[in-house]
Amino acid sequence: MSLQSIPVLLLILSSFFLILFLGWRYALLALIVQYVGVFWLIAQTLPIGLAAVKLIIGWMAGAILASSQISLGEDLPVSDLSGRIFRVFVVIFGVIVAFSILPAAEAWIPVERSLLSGGLILLISGLIQLGLTSNPFRLSIGLLTFLAGFEMIYSGLVSSVLVVGLLGLINLGVGVAGSYFILSSSLEEAA
């Protein structure tokens, strides 16, 4: 097993956690691990400073979401045993799909294999999360995962400071929008 497989394994592990365990603590922990994996892989193509921007912004977005969920004071809906079994199979299926479309994706997108495989895993994991929930917290985590997957692939293609900055702003925006979704009903009346 090469060193580059470790971040890909981290991403698979974080995807399992994000889809399987629905509590905000697990989600935050998985998100932290996920962005470590993202940072590890992106640092191969982008300067370490720009890769660190993605790590920090990802953590910040996760922290914003988690703190909003805490402020709301409501527990997230939990999944029963059959639901968890279903989720396990969905994640396994997602990972299989990611690796099976990898050769075709390599022919299309000229980026390093580890970056592409990690990116595809997160893209599919994000889509699965978006498809399995209507909860604002889970939905925002799903969007962040999807965006992280795309950013990994895109960083192998374009290494512009403006792109990194704008994508960072978008990630943060998704975090803030998710936080707003969670708390909007408890905020003061607008008019």
Binding site: P136, F150, Y154, L157, L167
Partner: protein, 467 residues
Amino acid sequence: MSAPVIWIVIPLVTGMILWLLRRRQWLSGGIAVALSALLAVLAAAMPIGVNLRIGGLQIEVGESLFVLGRSFTLTNNERPFLVMIFTVCAVWFAGSIILRQHRLFTPFGLMVVSALIGALAVQPFLYAALLVQLAVLLSIPILVPPGEVAQSGVQRFLIFQTLGMPFILLAGWVFGSGDIAQIDPAILPRAAVLLGIGFALWLAVFPFYFWLPQLTDQTRPYSAGFVLSLLPVSILMLGLDFISQVGWLRSSSVMFLMIQLTGVLMIITAGVWAAFQDEISRLLGYAVIFESGYALLTIGLNSLPGYMIFAASLLPRLLGLFVLTSALAVLKNKAQPTDFDHLQGVFQRFPVAVIALILALFSISGVPLLAGFPVRLEALELFAAQRPLLIGWVLLGNLGFLIGVLRVLLHVIRLAEEPAQNLERWAERVVLFGGIIFLFLFGIMPGVFYQSVIFILRVAPALLTAR
């Protein structure tokens, strides 16, 4: 001073300042209206890139603003579009004061406009997708004011718009990465497919549009109308800019056929669903889909007359949606439900709003004498000449939408058994009367209004050479 500072940075900064002034709604609304009107006048009167002498003062408005090694460029070609977009904003912001919209409407409205103009101005154009995404994120507080629950429609709006961004960026990377002749020819059709999926997600094209009626049903109609007026129009202009800049796309007849067929499919499905709709707020969503269908239909013609009809149709589209959502806002402000079961007596309580609502819907359907009719007629004539076998399907969609509107009409004219009090305010009536007058003016004298808006096509200059 450069043009991007005037039309991108100033609205953005003003929006932020107005957010601080959000408690003083009249003041923030007034500033937003004045600024939008001023920027529209400036875009109409002030050439970009030439020296201006005002008294002893000499001003040169440059075309570009450089940020982190990339440029935002606005030229004289973009001025007609700037005039249109800021005029629209001035009208919507003025309406928001009168129709008592929430405090975040104008501050975030200005920021959304700034991001959308930034998307049109940024070079290379592949960065535009990021700025559109920022505009989407900034429109969330417009759609969900504090104190209200973010429902599934808004959540799906965010999801689908976010999913569209990567497709556009990847396609932009292929088409924007230097000389297209040096790219592997097998890659180009795939990139076009990515581009198509991206724009389909952004524009809520069939089958990605089910969130749209949900959004209009679950949010305030005026807010939804504003976002759904600005965002699709700007994205369509961005699409034209994309096609204009990439010669391979311009010469792809398959792509234009796909655009056209998608447009037809949107018109048919929106029309058929509209015919069975029992909730007027959801009908607003189908109206947006219907309008986007016609926009794609005219773009898909890939001819100068087609592009001209597309440009001309933006005015009735924007006006129709403004009048429709204003009328709905008047009803919703007084907690009037808009489903068919609760419309009895609504005409007695809101006579002007109901008339405006019906006329706006008729205009969108393309009924004669109203704003939408001349452009619908031209679009159908052009389409019939190019694809006579498909025109029947488009007419079927039109008929479906018209049936939906007639069903609304039949329900709103049911009178209450006991006479009801008129609940409209005079200021609301002024807005609605103004809209009604323009619906007729645009319909009776289309040449006067539509010829000027055609100049917005300069945003995509290469398309003006189409036959």
